[in-house]
Symmetry: C3
Subunit: 319 residues, 3 copies
């Protein structure tokens, strides 16, 4: 593997999934693989799970890790080409990424979308410039439009908990109090659509009208505006808020009745409930569900180490 | 040891003290003990000594360390249960702690008191919720009401410097310019009261009226409002400001005459002077004392590695 | 080597340069040298290259590294002696440095100048107090007036790229949008003046009138106000802005015609172009030069690992 920014970077999904489950059982088996290799983790935004789990994964592989909060510890970055840098930005991504590539064997980058200019966000300008100029393999730690380390952890979690060959997996839009990126649902959908074909499951997305995701990531998914209908027979419900793709970045203020609680859970086939976290309790998801026996959220979070370690290992093997 | 939040977590104080002195002599003797173990250090507040010394202690034991400034690098945390999270907090301690416990074999937490609601602070709501939800052993790196890693280092320092079997140890309130927590004096008192019985020393607290500490932590201590009387015959003077427990969190603006200087030092039995640092020179403690031959403040700070390493080792052994 | 704050700390420059080139070829050859040694990196200002490259260098040597953004993660520091600390500063450099020296075998410090009080800056009060009170070897990671790790990396880069025995090296002042320190040009000049004698090169400084550097660092350099004249026959052009030493810290608003572009480059002997980064494109240096074949800026940045590793190794050997 030369980079990891999307499910498309994976050649053989079932075999990578099997490898992840093996890695989870023997987390220190490959500790020699990362010797004298340095992973640089570059954060342009806050991070808890990604920050800790990716470090842990790298340490399990015997790598060195250097963490950089580039927004707070470094210099204000410029991403536009051809501009005269006489404003507030101090360093261009060309130099910054180029330099980081000199010091690290592979790099992870977290960069959220602006949610203002859809084209810019969906062209992944920041991530792509970073990849182009750093010259070493890059792992997305959540980009403007995708969060593949999360989705891979989600797939592992579904695999560990499924009780039938073809479980029904529902991605259910949830209410929130502010405008959120589409990266997690885009990415989850992309992975589930692929798993639908290569691993086996039925994938349905439920959301209010006007909140349809970019169709590029939902090809093959069932799509409905009827949450109750989607929940019927569901084995897994993935709860997540997102802002509008159509009216780009717009916050959907209605939809309080979309919050999954125990009553809604009864419509399902005793579904396990998933969320990438952080979650706003009793806004996005009822506390009673989060604290109940059907919640998988901590197991998902734990599997972030497994997905990161599997990806890092693949990239180390290809260095 | 399953956690370390107070002297009560220690079964046998003299034997732990002896072990600490051994660890100090051979800091790298247990480097295999921490292999493949990860310590997560979670800071909700600034830290210099605790941050560096606890990392150093863990590295001496061969552990991996991950540091997280959760206030700046992560998400704003919610601690109240049962609230609808539609405000400024993004993640609940239930999930945040639960997730951190997935990634780390043990966790350290620093969380200062609000100094507004005494019940909340003294119930150690943040620390206790963190312990409850993270599911792994927790070390307090200073909580709302106690700072046991500091007090253990203080005890080690007294042991190293005592010239008689039963030295007189005085905790002396000192002036300051703003309202400070009671964690360090509470904790020091708790440790000294226990050492009084199990190791041997005489412990006296001197403070202006109205600044009595929570009696829960001072049982067995001599208590006086007369600083000069307390200093007479003292072998160790521990200098520290604290705000009022009675009028909770209230700043005591008077008491400039409580600052220890060389003149006051003459009342003692050539006492060694201690302070946990940071110290405001010529406000809490005279510069002439800090720079003089009786100051132990750097040795105390150095012993923070020893106390942390001894505690981490005990917890590693019980994992 | 007992400290590294200036070229004066180096006894034999040609032999250190030769060692650096050897270290670059075998970066992990000395991994045993740093075992159980801890390097503390203390940042009072932002840093990208220095932060990452010094960590990488230390890891290559098998050291432990602890990073501390003292301005954000610790306590506000006081540097003045004899003051009553009843203001906004919480900890004195005497204690802070003293404590850090207890935890680390060697320390790196980054502290920029205030650019207000020339005497204070040029006496290197912060760096010198830090050295005095920490009690362990200190490496400057850019001080008020010098940046020797950068200059050493620059010298390595020149050595790697020179095509004649005595290349002509020009330090060319460049325009900017705000007032910058003199540390990089002072330091580069100091190293080039020494290299002129001990390694062999011709060193010329070109700058507008009024921007002469402190003569203490430019003894032996050719100095001119005529950029074009300086560029003629140049093999290396080191581009850098600095504020006035004479009218201390003053910003020079004119001088846009001092920006090196391809047209100016034609005056040189096909010179390689250097800059310490971060660089403001099309303000300090034309994008066409940065992106062209003559730019050495990434190689310079890469050599920051080599200079840091060579210095750390020398200090480790003298511990």
């Amino acid at each position: 593997m030369k980079k990891f920014t999307s499910v498309s970077d994976i050649e053989d999904l079932p075999s990578l999934l099997a490898e992840a489950l093996r890695n989870k059982k023997q987390p220190f088996a490959d500790k020699a693989k990362g010797a004298n290799k340095t992973l640089g983790l570059i954060f342009m935004n806050p991070s808890l799970r990604t920050r800790l789990s990716t470090q842990k994964a790298a340490l399990n592989l015997g790598m060195n890790v250097i963490v950089m909060n580039i927004d707070k510890e470094g210099w204000a970055l410029e991403f536009q080409d051809g501009c005269v840098m006489n404003g507030s930005t101090v360093e261009h991504i060309r130099e910054a990424a180029g330099v980081m590539g000199q010091y690290c064997d592979l790099l992870g980058l977290r960069s959220f979308p602006g949610l203002v200019n859809r084209d810019e966000d969906y062209h992944e300008e920041i991530l792509n410039k970073f990849i182009r100029f750093c010259g070493v393999p890059v792992i997305s730690m959540e980009s403007a439009t995708l969060h593949p380390l999360q989705s891979f952890a989600d797939l592992i979690t579904i695999e560990e908990n499924k009780t039938k060959k073809h479980p029904k997996v529902v991605l259910a839009w949830a209410p929130h109090v502010r405008s959120l990126p589409q990266a997690v649902p885009n990415s989850f959908s992309e992975w589930m659509c692929r798993a639908q074909k290569e691993i086996g499951l039925d994938f349905v997305i439920a959301q209010p009208e006007g909140l349809e995701l970019n169709p590029e990531f939902t090809r093959g998914a069932g799509i409905t505006h009827n949450l109750d209908e989607a929940l019927r027979g569901a084995d897994f419900v993935y709860v997540k808020n997102w802002s509008s793709y159509k009216n780009y970045g717009q916050f959907h203020a209605d939809g309080q009745d979309w919050m999954i609680d125990n009553r809604k859970l009864k419509l399902t086939s005793n579904a396990r409930v998933m969320h990438c976290l952080p979650v706003r309790r009793d806004v996005e998801l009822a506390a009673e569900v989060l604290d109940g026996p059907n919640s998988l959220v901590l197991q998902q979070a734990a599997n972030r180490v497994v997905s990161a370690q599997t990806v890092l290992k693949k990239i180390l093997e290809a260095l």
